[in-house]
């Protein structure tokens, strides 16, 4: 209300302003309590006994020696799960603890709680599980189809004069959040439990814990503990149910903290992908058709695979106008590690293929690759390959032209360049001889929020009271701060709407309605929208505010409805909104050794509205680092279902020396459906950064570079 705003015109920390994140101070002093830092009086420590085999039948589980160990309080198997014995985001197909058949390496079989971690670990070794080892299904071509998505868009008989085709692969990436899975479950003495955990979606955890424990929601309260990164890997449950089971069984608080190796087995990964593409165009460079066959390995359980394959299909052609699309995308189940949500899910994989295809097509046509993209750029009013008309912003052309206009980094100087500026660095593998520079462009897009008819919403409770005559705003949601900066943005929104300086975002928990997941680039839009709406409702009643009377409103914010895809044609208005980012990579390659140095990444991204400039830039830079990792080094390697590199020695993530400077330009085209016109920010940086690097490597070497992560052998 304008009167409120004029009364306190100088309140700082509103939407759009530079404001340090609210949780940064405890994070720089070490006071911030992550889920692994929690403790409670009399707590026990718990560990997990995991299957060493990717596929096996369990003949017997002998826990007697573990149970008999001094200091051990509980040793539980599937028989101790009182309620539903399976969990899962889309379908409950994953056992809480293995019942009879192990379907991936590292699957939890037994859980042990003891006085201390050492005792728990020693007792776990004493658990004897007799396995009848089965041959794993490790080849995704032999996997059982979990979901296939067919898109038949336009006249299916359309052909073209200029045709290019290629096959592409994407390796299995890990979220590699730095804070391993952990939490503390505290029994309430009355049959209920409080779980403090690092997660992305409190209410989904609660729902699954309740089902497994056979308890009503009132008996299971889930509280967000400090989260050490997420990136999709905390959407499925890991130790949540196990800790609660043990706490209720022992009557004692139970803490579980995964080791790094366990963490590789404790969460889903990014689906590896195999993609065959064919593009057809007119001689002038107008795209006529895109045909694609896309295979994703979902591993042992469903997780969010159905949504991932949907995205892979819907965004398979990239942000381009296409007259005809023929897309067959399927996700299969194997005995490989389960795959699910990771930043940019589905869109990341296909961008590697559709952007390589655009470069191939440009070469075949003799057209500049950026010109070809601009010529075919989707814009507002166009139809996507799902038939949906884009009614929000689609600044594809603007992003590409803005990116192209950005200055290139300086050419490397003489042959006497600083070793540290060369591929191989101080390993002294080259003084510049054999080093070639390449420049590559790519653009990607993805949906904000959940699609295909899911009624997505978030809930916010906002309360204003007077404390010593000064208004205090309390914002309560179940939205998970996972590092992205949500709590700060929610505070800025409440301050903007109510005009009061003193805003407190309360800890997130399940005593308020669901906020949905901190994933799919949705949380600022959805929970930001809920907080804004709750503030507006409170503002209407501020006249009731008195020393002894607070004003409180709880509001649910739903986005506009979406609709399913037609199962035969893949046509449907499945998406709420789209977000876009373009990337340009400049890479130097030692063409003798296949070593790469990324010189610079430039990016243009449209965010709708910058809510907090520093956080917005931080999301973009961090997302690019993960895209660079997928392009050059990050891959979980499996061999017949066995993970070969479950540690940071062998699974490499970019260090500061791997990250080049990022040149960025953020644009703000307001999205008409969103609070403040904002759009999703978190995922787009991770989509086209990977193919831009692949393109730069192709330009530098002339090699096809059809697989990421790129290996030295691919470049020589």
């Amino acid at each position: 209300m304008s009167t409120t705003r004029t009364r306190t015109p100088l309140v700082r920390g509103r939407v759009g302003e530079l404001m340090p994140r609210r949780d940064a101070e405890p994070k720089v002093t070490g006071a911030f309590a992550y889920s692994s830092d929690l403790e409670a009086e009399g707590m026990l420590f718990a560990v997990t006994v995991r299957s060493p085999h990717p596929h096996a039948r369990i003949a017997a589980i002998d826990t007697a020696a573990a149970v008999a160990t001094a200091g051990v309080h509980a040793v539980l198997t599937h028989a101790d799960v009182p309620g539903r014995k399976t969990v899962g985001m889309h379908r409950a197909d994953q056992p809480v603890l293995v019942v009879d058949v192990v379907r991936y390496q590292g699957e939890p079989v037994v859980i042990v709680a003891a006085d201390d971690l050492e005792t728990a670990r020693r007792a776990a070794v004493l658990v004897v599980v007799t396995y009848e080892v089965l041959e794993p299904v490790a080849d995704p071509e032999r996997g059982e189809v979990l979901r296939d998505v067919r898109i038949r868009h336009g006249d299916q008989s359309l052909g073209a004069d200029v045709v290019v085709s290629g096959s592409y692969e994407v390796g299995m990436q890990d979220q590699a959040f730095l804070g391993p899975e952990s939490g503390l479950a505290i029994p309430d003495g009355d049959g209920g439990v409080d779980l403090h955990v690092a997660t992305q979606w409190l209410h989904l955890d609660q729902e699954q814990i309740c089902a497994a424990l056979d308890l009503p929601p009132a008996k299971v309260r889930v509280h967000l503990a400090g989260v050490g990164g997420a990136f999709g890997g905390r959407e499925d449950v890991s130790m949540q149910i196990h800790a609660c089971l043990l706490a209720l069984r022992t009557g004692r608080p139970v803490k579980m903290v995964y080791t790094r190796e366990e963490s590789f087995f404790g969460h889903v990964h990014r689906h590896p992908a195999w993609m065959r593409y064919e593009h057809g165009a007119t001689p002038e460079g107008d795209l006529v058709y895109v045909r694609a066959e896309i295979l994703l390995d979902g591993g042992a359980y469903a997780s969010s695979s159905p949504a991932v394959v949907s995205n892979a299909a819907c965004f398979a052609a990239g942000p381009y106008r296409v007259q005809r699309a023929t897309i067959d995308a399927r996700v299969v189940m194997t005995n490989n590690p389960p795959c699910g949500a990771m930043r940019g899910f589905g869109a990341v994989q296909v961008a590697v293929a559709h952007e390589a295809q655009m470069d191939l097509l440009a070469a075949a046509l003799g057209i500049d690759p950026v010109d070809l993209r601009v010529r075919n750029a989707l814009k507002t009013g166009d139809r996507m390959i799902t038939g949906q008309v884009i009614d929000g912003p689609a600044p594809v052309r603007e992003l590409l032209e803005g990116l192209r206009a950005m200055p290139l980094p300086l050419e490397r100087g003489s042959l006497r360049a600083d070793l540290r500026e060369l591929p191989g660095g101080v390993a002294n593998t080259t003084h510049g001889e054999g080093v070639r520079r390449g420049v590559g462009y790519a653009i990607g897009f993805k949906n904000m929020g959940f699609a295909e008819g899911f009624d997505d919403y978030s809930t916010a409770r906002v309360r204003v009271s007077l404390v010593n005559g000064e208004p205090l705003v309390e914002v309560h949601t179940a939205a998970c701060e996972v590092g992205q900066g949500l709590v700060t943005v929610l505070e800025q929104i409440a301050r903007t709407e109510l005009g009061f300086e003193h805003v407190v975002v309360l800890p997130a928990d399940t005593t308020v309605g669901s906020a949905g997941s901190s994933s799919a680039s949705r949380q600022t839009w959805m929970t930001g929208g809920a907080v804004k709406a709750a503030c507006e409702a409170v503002r209407e009643r501020l006249h009731e505010l008195a020393a002894d009377r607070s004003v409180e409103e709880t509001v649910e914010h739903h986005h506009r409805p979406t609709f399913p895809l037609d199962p035969e044609t893949g046509q449907g208005d499945a998406q709420v909104a789209l977000c876009f980012a373009a990337h340009r990579a400049v890479c130097d390659v030692d063409t003798d050794l296949g070593l790469v140095r990324v010189v610079e990444i430039a990016t243009t991204q449209d965010v709708g509205r910058i809510m907090n400039p520093a956080q917005c830039e931080g999301q973009i830079q961090g997302g690019i680092a993960q895209g660079l990792g997928l392009a050059l080094m990050e891959e979980i390697k499996t061999e017949n279902g066995l993970v070969r590199n479950p540690n940071f020695t062998d699974y490499l993530i970019p260090t500061i020396l791997d990250m080049p400077p990022v040149r960025l330009a953020i644009s703000e085209t307001p999205h008409p459906d969103a609070p403040y016109g904002l759009n999703g920010v978190g995922e787009p940086p991770t989509i086209a950064s990977t193919p831009a690097i692949a393109a730069a490597l192709r330009a530098a070497t002339g090699r096809p570079v059809t697989r990421v992560p790129v290996r030295p052998d691919d470049l020589i």
Partner: protein, 157 residues
């Protein structure tokens, strides 16, 4: 077997009994209750557990507590003065050096060690100085900016 040792952490001596195989990280986290230092990998790869041991940046997950007997140890909790943040902590907060923050304690320790050895490092020297510390969220740019600012402002760490 337990060993009686003295850990001088952030200027305070603590007498503790530790097992032979106890890491310095777990002695400090579990026995002293200073949980600022993190375990990210238990393998000397990520640097989240980094402490200064007699001024030297050390991955405390892979350093035995008994080795630190009598040593002067600085953890993230010891970087500020009372309630005052150190200049480095302040600029990390202001320059976007923190997102999830799990790497921050180790990153601050590495940067502190760097600035003590070289009060005015270049951007390249900063990158090398903290190259043993993984950050999964920020893309590192805010971290470099923060250390550069301290370097330029010449604030003592």
């Amino acid at each position: 077997m337990k060993h009686p040792i003295t850990l001088n952490v952030n200027g305070t001596p603590y007498s503790v009994d530790v097992a032979t195989a106890q890491s310095l990280l777990y002695a400090v986290r579990d026995q002293l209750g200073l949980t600022g230092s993190k375990e990210g990998c238990d393998d000397s790869e990520c640097g989240a557990c980094m402490m200064l041991v007699d001024g030297r940046p050390t991955n405390s997950c892979s350093y035995l507590a008994v080795q630190a007997d009598g040593a002067e140890i600085t953890t993230v909790e010891g970087l500020g003065e009372g309630d005052e943040l150190s200049p480095l902590q302040q600029v990390f907060l202001e320059e976007g050096g923190v997102q999830c923050g799990f790497c921050t304690p180790g990153m601050l320790i590495a940067a502190t060690a760097l600035l003590q050895a070289n009060p005015s490092p270049t951007a390249e020297e900063i990158r090398i100085g903290v190259s043993g510390n993984l950050c999964r969220c920020t893309g590192y740019d805010g971290i470099v900016r923060a250390v550069l600012r301290v370097s330029r402002e010449g604030a003592s760490v």
